[in-house]
Symmetry: C2
Subunit: 304 residues, 2 copies
């Protein structure tokens, strides 16, 4: 327990990735399990198991990146869209079970911190990160520090409205036409099923696009357009130097999403913001969330 | 020139309001002119005239609130959507003409600063302001200080996409389905003309609603719905304590816009953010921008 390493845990709607990370951001060891979705108790037990599978003597703290807004005042999750967590004081619960300092972050915020400290965003003062995975998450670094809003629950960039009164959002979200509804891996799977039958999914959609299938490429181009509308809004709101795109779907479909996303973004964005913003693919790949969660864990250790 | 007062100038697409403001935020004297829209030279001369009309011995600085993103590094306006300003180093130009310290701010950002320091947002750490006027502007106070993005051009909350691939935006903005396109005073005028003929405008629309006209009320309710989509996005992104609605149209149509805006906002917003956000009407009314611009002027004086 000498604190040279922290465990980062990236909790997704599909799988949980746990890893031991050095202070330089190197992943020493990692472990992956399917996300237990049956109940809140099963999920929390899964988080504990994932930590136990990689834990070693050098680990001083654990950071969790969760697909939910976090209330940092109480360390609790009030509502999660894609996993069974609600009204739970998760930080205290996990600290008791694990016996180490524990910190919570939103998963995409963790990814943004990972890319900012050890990836594509090193040295950047104003950064917007969008993670296109099962759902869509967002992370913000503003004026040189992570930004999470008044009580830690801001930065939910996947839940901006891009289609007013549009299709209903997922799970417990009551919104309509949110970016997540039209541009997530899940949305890609739905579109793939409509076009190619019930066995298709986002992975197959990308493979078909790789093989030159025009219909598959058009679906991904259309999704990229929605991403571009949101990115244009973010440029007008945040005037960032850099936008980083991550998440499993975003990284895998990058070549097909980027051209329409960038074209629409530059149409929607005002000058001078649109003239100096850059878009980059997450350098840490799908490990960004895990590495960022570990950095959040180190922060908890260093103030403890 | 003893600096007990500053002049604030609120530059709109329709009129320019100049006022002498005390350090407590009281407006001592004010003057209003129509905005000269014929050329950039005419507009700049109009700004100088408006200042001259209220200038007195106690005035130490002038702050301008402009309907444009400001590049604070050079004090320049690169692009304005509703007034003839482009690629002009306006801060230096006005300082030379006026002979006093000059500061520039985006007009809605100035209104947000006014409400935050002397109006509905006193003591609030995270505040979003939306000004519904001829166009739609936005101002942000995050973590207890005004936020404008990497180079000062952020906070353009009127130019978030609420209808992907929707109707084209105004003037030099190349975007589509921006909030400004569907929820400004100008959008209300367009809708009023469609429903009530070419002589109708936003003012008449509100008067008809006051008289109980159902069609007029429905138009305003629909506009309120668009505002609600944007507000829901802002809650998810910023997790603010308070949203302040100002601007001439927003204040005049408040009773008709608020119910649908608040209903849709709470539908679009995730918990816990939606549970603790409040919406308030601008307390300083249409003087918010003028008063906030004066505060920005005082700041320039105090660091000079």
């Amino acid at each position: 327990m000498d604190g040279t390493h922290a465990i980062g845990v990236d909790v997704g709607g599909t799988k949980i990735l746990a890893g031991v990370v050095s202070r330089a951001g190197d992943v020493i060891r990692r472990h992956e399990i399917m996300t237990p979705l049956a109940s809140q108790a099963a999920l929390i037990a899964g988080l504990e198991d994932a930590v136990a599978a990689v834990r070693g003597d050098a680990v001083g703290a654990v950071g969790f990146g969760l697909p939910a807004p976090i209330d940092q005042r109480s360390g609790s999750v009030v509502q999660a869209v894609n996993i069974p967590l609600a009204d739970v004081e998760l930080r205290d619960e996990l600290r008791t079970r694990i016996g180490l300092p524990v910190a919570l972050a939103n998963d995409a915020q963790a990814a943004a911190i990972g890319e900012w400290r050890a990836g594509a965003g090193r040295g950047v003062g104003d950064l917007v990160m969008l993670t296109l995975g099962t759902g869509v998450g967002g992370g913000l670094v503003l004026d040189g520090k992570p930004y999470r809003g008044a009580t830690g629950a801001g930065g939910e960039l996947g839940h901006v409205v891009v289609v007013h009164d549009g299709p209903p959002c997922q799970g417990t979200c009551t919104g309509r036409g949110h970016l997540e509804t039209v541009a997530s891996g899940r949305a890609a799977t739905e579109a793939a099923r409509k076009a190619f039958g019930p066995a298709a999914d986002a992975h197959r959609l990308i493979r078909l696009a790789d093989e030159g299938d025009e219909a598959a490429r058009e679906i991904l181009e259309r999704i990229g357009g929605y991403v571009g509308s949101a990115l244009g809004s973010f440029v007008n709101v945040f005037n960032p130097e850099l936008i980083v795109i991550g998440g499993g779907f975003g990284i895998a479909a990058w070549d097909y999403l980027l051209p329409s996303a960038e074209r629409v973004m530059r149409r929607e964005a005002l000058r001078p913001g649109r003239d100096h913003v850059q878009i980059a693919r997450a350098e840490l790949g799908t490990a960004a969330g895990l590495i960022g969660a570990a950095f959040v864990g180190f922060d908890a250790l260093d103030v403890a």
